[in-house]
């Protein structure tokens, strides 16, 4: 296992990138701690697979270095980096048995058969695939094939990092959950560094200790699931994580006060910086219906089970609220209250208020 | 990378050499050919081509070939389409046996059929017509077309058919306006292979024709009889037979590699 550092990483798929728009990755500096469970979250095309392939060595970055435990591996090919990667679609060697599939990475590295047997047996037990060890891999169901793909990464006890590139895409929903908890379990048992790439926030938040959120080739926030939810550093994170996402409302600064639709709104703490485009951010979970406050009209009420989502209009701006009980009708005139310590100001997209004491 | 691309380059060079020689000879005079070796035509002449384009028995051979090949391609693809659809969508009594029997016709040596074909087509009065050759070539082209088309159709989800019926399409309208466009690559590939095998086959084409529908390739044998070998003329006629194939292949260049890959075994 190793600590992985990325410094000044940039990558472009074009031979002669002209400007920032030509870069799939724009300047990434990141440290992955040894033994951590990370998720790399972002919408399709944000550069997360590119970043993953750079770490595994399938791609050589245009600029920047990759260090494993301080050792520069930027120019090393994948097989010398001691990494494991699981792909979106299960990759298995059709003509081999499950046993031979699992043994493949070890045999390629010249380990003796007693060791191979020991590791394969161990991993097969961990993955619950012992009964099928002598079956031809081609005949397995998709979820078992994906397990074997994972297993090929796990058999090696010297891997620096295990990477998963949207591994559950082709798996049936009820098996997704099973495989995900299996992964979590494996992480706890093996203490391996794992990086899990996904565009699905549920997968990211349930799997990872630390989530790295990416957008358009940039890392916008790194944090625990709770941090991402409660204090998004960027409006993109606020919007992308949570269901429904954070309310992002156009606001103006007028002599130290924050004004939204003609009303002053109190924010969590002191405002930093100046100028730029300012927006208010408040999660629907922290918007409540009140006697006084922002006047709003209810546009739609949807009951989603444990709670209800109320869509309202404040002036011309839609604001969503999540409440336990929806006792209002469509078209009703209501007042909204924002919880002050959960209301933040964003300047050009980035958080621009200090946390409440 | 450099070293690797040497193999295809060498292979293509090997393929082009005899073709180059044929083309180069077609521009030489008979005298130059017989007088000895020359890598390039010394006295460049278009005389051989002039002979072909002015003598009706030559250029009609060319036209005859194109007529029966086109006829065969159209017939083969048109009949194969519904059959391939049936094989890819339905189970019916004897379907597997029928499919296999069709394929066995692809295995029949043409030499076996030459004489009976002559008698068959003579007896129905089709001897020495374009239609006779076009129909005879169906023997090996229809199984091939059914095979290729079935492969392509198998790749189209059945839901497409069902959606169309739900939307109120009649079968013929669905087949022509929705289904055909989705498998047009397959139709192209099937048509290409039909064209190819009909164009290159000679044994049956020669057996079934005498004068009226004689293919260009058969015309070439006459260079041997009159005044010894007219190699220049032979080469020119040969060169001309390469051109239609080259044109057709250019149009399907992006599909040919996929052609058989989607067929079933």
């Amino acid at each position: 296992m190793a600590r992985i550092s990325l410094s000044g990483l940039r990558h472009s798929y074009l031979p002669h990138p002209a400007g920032p728009q030509d870069y799939a990755l724009k300047s990434i500096d990141l440290d992955w701690e040894d033994g951590g469970a990370y998720a790399l979250l972002g919408p399709s095309g944000c550069g997360k697979s590119t970043l993953l392939n750079i770490i595994s060595g399938l791609l050589v970055p245009s600029e920047g270095r990759i260090l494993f435990d301080g050792q520069d591996v930027t120019d090393l090919p994948p097989d010398q980096r001691n990494i494991a990667q699981v792909f979106q679609f299960p990759v298995i060697y059709d003509t081999m048995t499950v046993y031979d599939n699992l043994a493949f990475p070890l045999r390629n590295r010249g380990f003796d058969e007693t060791f191979v047997n020991e590791r394969v047996t161990l991993i097969a037990a961990l993955l619950d695939v012992e009964p099928m060890l002598n079956v031809r891999a081609a005949h397995l169901a998709p979820d078992n094939k994906q397990k074997i793909s994972m297993g090929r990464g796990l058999v090696r006890d010297d891997v620096n990092v295990m990477m998963f590139d949207e591994p559950l895409t082709v798996i049936d929903p009820h098996l997704k959950w099973k495989l995900r908890s299996k992964l979590k379990e494996l992480h706890q048992q093996l203490k391996a560094t794992m990086i899990y790439v996904t565009h699905d926030q549920t997968e990211a938040l349930t799997f990872a200790d630390q989530v790295v959120v990416m957008q358009e080739g940039e890392v916008v926030q790194i944090g625990t699931p709770v941090e991402l939810f409660e204090r998004p550093q960027h409006t993109f994170v606020g919007h992308f994580i949570g269901s429904p996402g954070m309310n992002i409302l156009p606001a103006a600064e007028e002599g130290g006060r924050i004004v939204f639709e003609g009303q002053t709104v109190a924010v969590e703490g002191a405002v930093t910086g100046s100028g730029g485009v300012t927006e208010l951010g408040v999660r629907p979970e922290f918007v409540t219906l009140a006697e006084t406050g922002l006047p709003a009209r209810v546009r739609k009420v949807s009951d989603v089970g444990r709670h209800a989502v109320i869509e309202t209009m404040v002036g011309d701006t839609p604001v969503k609220a999540v409440v336990d009980q929806a006792d209002v009708e469509q078209g009703a005139e209501v007042h909204l209250a924002f919880r002050q310590d959960q209301t933040r100001l964003y300047r050009d997209g980035w958080l621009s208020t200090e946390a409440a004491r | 990378m450099r070293k690797r691309s040497l193999i295809p380059i060498l292979y293509i060079a090997f393929l082009m050499l005899p073709i180059y020689w044929l083309v180069s000879m077609s521009f030489k005079t008979t005298n130059e050919i017989l007088s000895g070796f020359s890598l390039f035509p010394q006295t460049f002449t278009l005389e051989n081509y002039a002979v072909i384009f002015t003598d009706p028995s030559w250029y009609w051979g060319y036209i005859n070939s194109i007529i029966y090949v086109s006829l065969n391609t159209v017939i083969s693809v048109c009949v194969a389409l519904p059959a391939a659809y049936a094989f890819s969508r339905y189970r019916f009594l004897g379907d597997k046996q029928l499919f296999f029997w069709l394929l066995t016709n692809r295995m029949a040596p043409a030499a076996v059929f030459a004489l009976p074909f002559f008698q068959l087509y003579s007896s129905v009065g089709l001897f020495d017509t374009h239609l006779a050759v076009a129909l005879a070539h169906c023997l090996f082209n229809i199984p091939l077309a059914v095979w290729i088309l079935e492969g392509f159709m198998g790749g189209v989800p059945k839901e497409l058919d069902e959606t169309a019926y739900v939307d109120g399409y009649s079968f013929p309208r669905f087949f022509v306006t929705i289904f055909l466009p989705t498998i047009k690559a397959g139709v192209g590939v099937a048509a290409f292979f039909c064209f190819m095998f009909s164009w290159v086959e000679l044994l049956l084409a020669k057996t079934l024709t005498a004068v009226e529908a004689k293919p260009i390739a058969a015309e070439m044998t006459k260079t041997a009889s009159s005044a010894g070998y007219e190699l220049g003329l032979l080469a020119a006629a040969g060169t001309l037979t390469i051109i239609p194939g080259a044109i057709v292949i250019y149009f399907v260049r992006n599909y040919i590699a996929k052609g058989f890959a989607l067929g079933r075994v």
Binding site: P105 | L135, I142, G245, A257, V265
Partner: protein, 287 residues
Amino acid sequence: MKTENQKAWFFVLPVLLLVAFNALVPIMTVVNYSVQETFGNNVFFWQGLDWFEQILRSDRFHAALGRQFLFTFLILIIEVPLGIIIALSMPKKGFWVPVCLVLMALPMLIPWNVVGAMWNIFTLPKIGLLGYFMNDVLGVNYDMTQDPLAAWITIIVMDVWHWTSLVVLLAYAGLVSIPDAYYQAAKIDGASPWKVFRYIQLPKMKTVLTIAILLRFMDSFNIYTEPFVLTGGGPGNSTTLLSIDLVKIALGQFDLGPAAAMSLIYFAITLLVSWLFYTLMTKDDAQ
């Protein structure tokens, strides 16, 4: 799942009629000849299975069959590996791919007798490019009208020239259908190029290679026009393959009975070997 529908027969009917017209009537004619003797004037005598017995016992048939198997064996053993090697070394994408494919497919689109004629003038001593090169530059005595070995080498090289591209096209189609992830996984698993070939590329090419081998078997086993135009079966009988011999008997000597019996035996062998190939190569999938 396919639905049961007997009306599907109507879709198949045109194909059935056309192919049956072309296949059944001639085959019946052949069967008819094969059990009769004629001295012309449409007078036939019942002969039973005598012709079959005669053909199966004749040294001439054995020799032609032996040459045919040798030819097909050599063709397969050269063209299949060569085709795979060329397909493996082709670029995966880019401008050159369609150019390569078009150039490679060109020989397959030349009428078969033109192929024979082309190779004839290519190999003529003194005036053919290859003939001149062999005799006058390398000093090797090369004349396929005299030397059986030279004739054999020439028809083999001609067939390699003519049909290897088919194997290349099919193998290439199989190769480009392999997702990149397989190669990436193999890199990470530390697989050598040989193992990548053995465990990824070869299994993924299996279907198309089965088709390639079947097609190459059928077509090389039935080959007639190209070697006939090139060598006429000579020198002597050295390159008289089955089809050539068949046509000699049927049209040259007009021995219809023996020719018909030979046709049927020939067809039966082609079917049998094709079926064997097919069963052997798809055996694993059935399990």
